[in-house]
Symmetry: C2
Subunit: 190 residues, 2 copies
DNA sequence: GTCTATACTGTGATAGAC
DNA sequence: GTCTATCACAGTATAGAC
């Protein structure tokens, strides 16, 4: 059975996101893949390299989304479209987002985490650009951290059997409400 | 300098919540406390004992809140009052809540985590009691995970300087909106 | 590309002196 | 109540055979 690097990447991602990077040993990853530790280290020269490989595709995609966003002018329709794009992103890369959200601070000094932090700053500047009020910043944090948590705990929150389309629609609803733009003059939600 | 067990508890809590339980060594805790590993193990006979000591006070408080809640009959006023109580809880025990939310799954088989899981189930049953719809469950998850994340990342979300009362009011606002009860007949939010 | 064997370091925990 | 010394083990990583 020829083992591909992608198999290892997927296994490592699942373990890092659920058990945690530090709590996951190369031995465990090797066992899950049916390999020895050394074979894992043949595909990825270190545990940190494997970590970077797990999160990089999500960062590439987020960078692409933000680049396109910042090239456009802001409009209400654009914001709605972006929110749908953001929801799709977070659904597709829920494990990567959850890993970064929860373990980012403990993975400082890993280069790929710095890159992720930069992307979050760009994202928050977009969502809270109008007012920058404390509540706006709190809403952004709750939306990001809450969605990442909730999607990765669907089983313990007892809705694991929901069809993906229903989950998607509900998440768009919730985030639209949570991140509704604020009129900087009247400070009312639009 | 006489070191108290409470000092160690506070240091361990901060490290477990930010760096993670597995990534935090007894050596590091000892260093931060100005002690040797052995002295730490004099106060807490194992790392796991220390973990339990960090989270137990929060669980005691949550249990007290839920016991009182379930002894009352449900009313709109009661729900509003409970939400304020819940916000105060999460503000006071933000580190403990964040630790459980993010690392709970990786700390399976630690008895104190089982206790915490039971409390979350009781809490979710209260908030989503009316409909039990997928969106309700998602809203509860986002509120819980989002608040825990946001409050522990106030610095990186750039509102660390906000007065606590402002944070409290904003959080009550957001969670009231997010967890507004649903009329089981019309399925409209009240 | 996978393995066994090995080196080295860090970790949780114990024993016993002070 | 704190320390040093030590233990047993798990962890990442390397060397080299197949």
């Amino acid at each position: 059975m020829s083992t591909s690097s992608d198999d290892l990447r997927a296994i490592a991602l699942a373990e890092f996101a659920t058990a945690g990077y530090s709590a996951t040993s190369l031995h465990r990853i090797a066992d899950l893949a049916g390999l020895s530790k050394s074979s894992v280290l043949y595909h990825y020269s270190s545990k940190e390299t494997l970590l970077e490989a797990t999160i990089a595709p999500a960062l590439d995609r987020m960078e692409q989304i933000l680049d396109a966003l910042e090239a456009r002018t802001l409009s209400p329709e654009g914001r709605t479209a972006f929110l749908a794009e953001f929801v799709d992103f977070i659904l597709q890369y829920r494990l990567e987002v959850n890993m970064f959200i929860n373990q980012g601070p403990s993975l400082v000094d890993v280069p790929v985490i710095d890159r992720a932090n930069d992307l979050v700053v760009r994202l928050s500047e977009y969502f809270a650009a109008n007012t920058g009020s404390v509540e706006e910043k709190m809403r952004f944090g709750i939306a990001l951290g809450g969605a990442a948590y909730m999607l990765c705990r669907a089983d313990s929150l007892n809705f694991e059997s929901a069809p993906i389309e229903q989950t998607r629609v509900a998440l768009v609803n919730i985030l639209t409400e949570l991140l509704a733009p604020v009129d900087p003059i009247t400070t009312n939600r639009i």
